[in-house]
């Protein structure tokens, strides 16, 4: 009986894998632009991890495509895969998309973008990335913003100057800013370098604490909260996932935590000069639409950034910390939260 079950199961597996390779092999790539002149598009979205900002990017991306006439259900099939913060999974996802012969791959966050670029490099499949803080550092673009190949997209470079100016406005007497980051996230390391460069101009010193994973965050945060007047966040996936913990610890010591985008302010950060990730995604979607329709090639498009930052404030957090947000700031704010969301 066991032998029969084993036999049937192994036959099923082999059949599925053959079917898998069958659909892949049927349409081998040719040299000319893949999707120009087509009426049906298939794209693969490779998202690195599951969290608010990246999810917003993805939603914005699909919105952006829709605004350019490429809509899911009408002329678009979208395959979404999440790497769960696993780099080897990101590699596998990219490989699978290439063997599925999609028309375009969207890589959300640096490791997924790099894996997509590597897999699609000689396969004539364009790669559009988003939420990559430093495309030059990631070697997806050269120094003058030109693409390294059939790869382009948008960068979520943090508006650090705006953030520093804002913190100074809210806390005129603060001296030290504490930053928690994960040593394995490339985006964080390059953002910290820039913070350290610019902080002096606003009269701040930066105290940073690097962790390797979520389990170390409480200890690192406790250490920072002893020495800093306030904390600020980067687009660090690990730290942002553990934000409620950090906020809880900071509140006990009455130390304000500044965020880097809207989701963080909603969860209780005092304020943020941030980029709107849905807008970033939309911008990326529009770039992708141009490539899919054949209007431009990815290698001809410089990567784009969102130049304006938007101010978000959380008045409930300000109340709890007994900090008054200057009226000029309140007027400037794009969105003001009066509550601290729990989810």
């Amino acid at each position: 009986m066991k032998k029969k079950i084993a036999f049937i199961l192994s036959m099923t597996m082999m059949a599925v894998s053959l079917a898998g390779c069958g659909t892949g092999g049927a349409e081998s790539g040719s040299g000319s632009p893949k999707s120009a002149g087509k009426s049906q598009y298939t794209i693969g979205i490779s998202q690195f991890a599951e969290h608010g900002s990246l999810d917003n990017c993805r939603k914005g991306f699909i919105e952006g495509l829709k605004e350019e006439g490429i809509e899911e259900g009408k002329n678009l099939t979208v395959k979404v895969k999440n790497a769960d913060a696993d780099t080897s999974m990101a590699t596998q996802i990219a490989s699978n998309f290439v063997s599925d012969n999609v028309d375009l791959i969207c890589g959300i966050a640096t490791p997924s973008a790099q894996a997509a670029y590597n897999a699609a490099m000689d396969q004539n499949i364009p790669v559009i990335y988003t939420a990559v803080t430093d495309p030059v550092e990631a070697q997806l673009a050269t120094d003058d913003q030109k693409p390294a190949g059939e790869v382009t997209g948008t960068s979520d470079k943090l508006p650090i100057e705006a953030q520093l100016a804002m913190i100074r406005e809210v806390l005129p007497d603060a001296k030290t800013i504490g930053i928690l980051y994960t040593t394995s996230e490339a985006n964080s390391v390059s953002s910290i370098a820039e913070y350290e460069k610019l902080a002096g101009q606003y009269g701040f010193k930066i105290k940073k604490s690097g962790v390797t994973n979520t389990s170390e965050i409480q200890l690192a945060a406790a250490d920072l909260l002893d020495a800093a007047d306030c904390l600020t966040n980067l687009t660090d996936n690990t730290v942002v996932s553990a934000l409620p913990t950090v906020l809880g610890m900071a509140e006990e010591k009455h130390i304000p935590v500044f965020g880097s985008e809207i989701e963080q302010v909603r969860k209780g950060c005092l304020a943020a000069e941030g980029i709107e990730y849905v807008e970033l995604g939309k911008q990326t979607g529009k770039m992708a639409a141009q490539v899919l329709k054949g209007e431009k090639k990815a290698s001809e498009m410089k990567y784009e950034t969102v130049t304006d930052s938007s101010l978000y404030v959380n008045e409930k957090a300000a109340e709890d910390l007994e900090i008054t947000i200057p009226d000029t700031m309140k007027e400037r704010a794009v969105e003001s939260f009066t509550d601290i969301s729990q989810n």
Partner: protein, 293 residues
């Protein structure tokens, strides 16, 4: 076809690591957690040397040597300081994290525009910049075969027999007037050298070094070894080293299949189920005869 090729590619690269894990886990009976950091060590060494212009083929050897050094550390901590096997591995794994960061310079080093063992001046002259998919697999296969054949030959030497003896019954080793501690250190050195070499090939194939690429390496290695050994238990014609490499390919096939077939939310669950199926197929079905005292 592309799908099968990428499974083969990944399976063979991790097959080199599986050979290393086979030595420590199966032969020496030493679960070595150090491989979680030795894998990125090879990648870090390779990335930093290639960026400085070293011949990519040479970096393979340097990575192997670096891995051996790490293995020696684990061995010394275990033998000389009498630390338990698991803990020695953990100590090396923890310490190597910062060393890897230091060697690579930063936590993410892309190698898109550099020469690798797959794409360099030599291959450009043959293929004119368009590297066919099978070339990658051929290169990896050559590395895997060299490792496997050298390992098989080594196992036949006196040193190799002693290595197996240390894992099975180390009293014999002492009775032969040999130092079992030194042999353990040698085994760990060779094993970590192979894992490091595997990391080097992986970094060159994926054209990036990322500090988090090693997480879960031991799990992958162990799964490959056990799948390979169980699946080919009855195949007496097949050397264990071959079985282990094929085990790695089967492992990667399961992961790739699960990704393809599963929805976005069930990938790891389906992978786990596939492993279970494979292990059941390879299960020893002969009923054990009860020995009545």
């Amino acid at each position: 076809m592309n799908f099968l090729m990428s499974i083969l590619e990944q399976g063979l690269i991790y097959g080199i690591m599986a050979l290393g894990v086979y030595i420590t886990y199966k032969i020496l009976d030493f679960p070595d957690l150090g491989v979680d950091s030795t894998f990125p060590l090879g990648a870090a060494v390779t990335a930093s040397l290639i960026a400085k212009g070293m011949n990519p083929y040479l970096t393979l050897l340097v990575s192997f040597a670096a891995g051996m050094a790490a293995g020696v550390c684990t061995g010394l901590i275990h033998v000389k300081f009498k630390v338990r096997d698991l803990l020695s591995g953990i100590i090396v794994m923890t310490g190597l994290y910062n060393i890897n960061l230091f060697i690579a310079g930063t936590n993410n080093v892309p190698l898109f525009s550099e020469e690798t063992i797959f794409k360099n001046h030599f291959t450009d002259s043959i293929f004119q910049e368009k590297i066919p998919r099978w070339w990658n697999i051929a290169v990896i296969l050559v590395v895997v075969l060299i490792c496997k054949i050298l390992l098989d030959l080594y196992m036949k030497t006196q040193s190799g027999y002693l290595l197996r003896a240390v894992g099975d019954n180390d009293v014999i080793v002492t009775s032969l007037a040999r130092d079992r501690g030194n042999i353990k250190i040698l085994g760990l050195a060779i094993s970590n050298g192979l894992v490091s070499l595997s990391g080097s090939v992986f970094a060159q194939q994926s054209r990036v070094f990322d500090i988090s690429m090693g997480t879960g390496s031991l799990v992958i290695g162990l799964a490959s070894v056990i799948i390979g050994i169980s699946f080919f238990r009855k195949a007496s014609f097949m050397k264990t080293t071959t079985a282990v490499i094929i085990g790695s390919i089967i492992y990667k096939a399961c992961v790739a299949l699960a990704l393809k077939v599963a929805g976005d939310k069930a990938t790891k669950l389906i992978t786990a189920l596939l492993f279970l199926v494979i292990l059941i197929i390879g299960m020893d079905r002969k009923k054990k005869v009860k020995i009545h005292a």
